[in-house]
Symmetry: C2
Subunit: 294 residues, 2 copies
């Protein structure tokens, strides 16, 4: 392994970034998160933004993942087509300098569809490397844009993006449903009712209007509307994901507050589900990449 | 007919209002449209807002429809449950004064669903009164919230709202797709491709992400993205509407720039479709109500 002194791993998204110092033994020794996402860094500002990370965490090599590799990031790291495993990612690393590498995203074209991911691939293949998911299984990775990923022999064979998280934010912040979507989402009865409805229906853009109509007509309590709406959105998402046949257990990888909701909806669909902490998978993925850089 | 001197008809929505002076012969003699929707009128401000309409169009009786009858409007006109025809609307008129009547909205509860409309009922039953639609047929009424309406014996028997127009606006103004959705929508090849895809798929919240992925991966031209996205949204909407079995021709009632797009998507589904100007239906509906006031 080239980087014997340890390294800094950065999950650098559109609106924020998380950076971790990983010591020579592979342990996370320090970390921080801030709002300096890719969109807030001016053109030409990445060398300074990277130098700032080193001032905070140490003068170590950097492995960067996420939107920092997009055409709005530091240096574009072109998408690696499916099937994509660790070897394919490592081969396609983009090197802005000798001590900085950017992990590429992954693309899928097939079945009449086109899709992209950027950032999730490290967590997904990290989960494979850590032995946390079935290398022939199905992984759900919720976030702003949820990914349903079919693994084959430990590689990303195919995936589909569902815009659930972003749709929920749009509806909460700007829509006619806005005043009904300000409560905290709980995976309780209202959420499960919404999830069951959307698992058995295929009309999300109609079902969402019910959130309002049910309250207006006295069919549901206003305070349950946020969880019910979240249930509709996530239930619809799970219906889409499970349309790809798999006999495997579903692994949900991501932030615990989201995996909890997706796990509840998958359980409503009568399927076995396991939740996995996405941060651990990210660190496992970064270390696997570092090892393979050689 | 009580109102022999003519009347003023107002289609008073959330964000704007359209007012028409209808003379004693039933002809539209004058009209205006402005941005004084219900949301811009302060509590207690409706008598003055109504007086202003009379100053512009004449001191005539007023028939008001739309959100002016909601709990944020002048006076609440409770929803009339389905089946709702002209008689039911006229019986449930709400009278803020002797020369002003508000038309109620319509509600549907059934098949595990709940739904409401307010304003569209005048156009729909106006289309029936004018003989423009089959009284046992199916009507599609696009707008911010599209309504799919099943008529039975000239009454609104059942309906379903699809939030297509609002979703398009949210995606255009606030989403990751925003920069791809600024072109004018045309019912051309890109629109039809999107419509066909969504007519045969049942995963709108996934399909929408393709708008971006196709451009990123060189599968589609950026300048076609707006029409393709509109095709996905309206195609999905039409799939939902046509899930209610009907052998009838589909009548699309509304503003011509919208009925054109819906008619194109319905045609892609292989169904006969007729476009009808919603403004004419509104005026026909208002005059039918005025006649029945007696």
């Amino acid at each position: 392994m080239r980087w014997t002194e340890g390294l800094i791993a950065v999950d650098w998204g559109t609106t924020n970034r998380r950076a971790y110092r990983i010591d020579a033994n592979g342990n996370c020794a320090d970390e921080f998160e801030d709002g300096k996402g890719v969109m807030s860094v001016a053109a030409g500002g990445f060398p300074e933004a990277v130098a700032e990370i080193r001032r905070r965490l140490g003068d170590l090599p950097l492995l960067l993942a996420g939107m920092v590799g997009s055409n709005r990031g530091w240096k574009e790291a072109p998408y690696v087509p499916c099937p994509a495993g660790m070897d394919e990612l490592v081969k396609a690393l983009v090197w802005p300098g000798e001590r900085e590498a950017i992990v590429p995203g992954v693309s899928f074209i097939g079945n009449g569809r086109a899709d992209v991911m950027r950032g999730e691939e490290v967590q997904l293949l990290g989960a494979v490397a850590a032995g946390s998911v079935d290398p022939m299984g199905m992984v759900c990775h919720p976030g702003t844009h949820n990914k349903w990923v079919t693994l084959r022999h430990g590689k990303i064979a195919e995936f589909r993006t569902v815009m659930t998280g972003e749709l929920f934010s749009l509806l909460k912040d700007h829509s006619i449903l806005s005043d009904l979507l300000q409560e905290h989402v709980e995976a309780g009865d209202a959420f499960k009712e919404g999830a069951r409805y959307a698992l058995n229906d295929d009309a999300l853009s109609a079902d969402l209007f019910m959130v309002r109509a049910r309250v207006l007509l006295g069919q549901a309590k206003k305070e349950d509307a946020t969880s019910y709406a979240s249930g509709l959105l996530i239930g619809s998402d799970v219906r889409i994901g499970l349309a790809t046949p798999t006999s495997a257990q579903i692994h949900v990888v991501g932030r615990p507050e989201l995996t909890r909701l997706y796990a509840a909806a998958v359980a409503e669909a009568g399927r076995d589900v396991v939740e996995i902490d996405g941060e651990k998978c990210f660190l496992a993925g970064i270390q696997e990449i570092a090892k393979r850089i050689g």
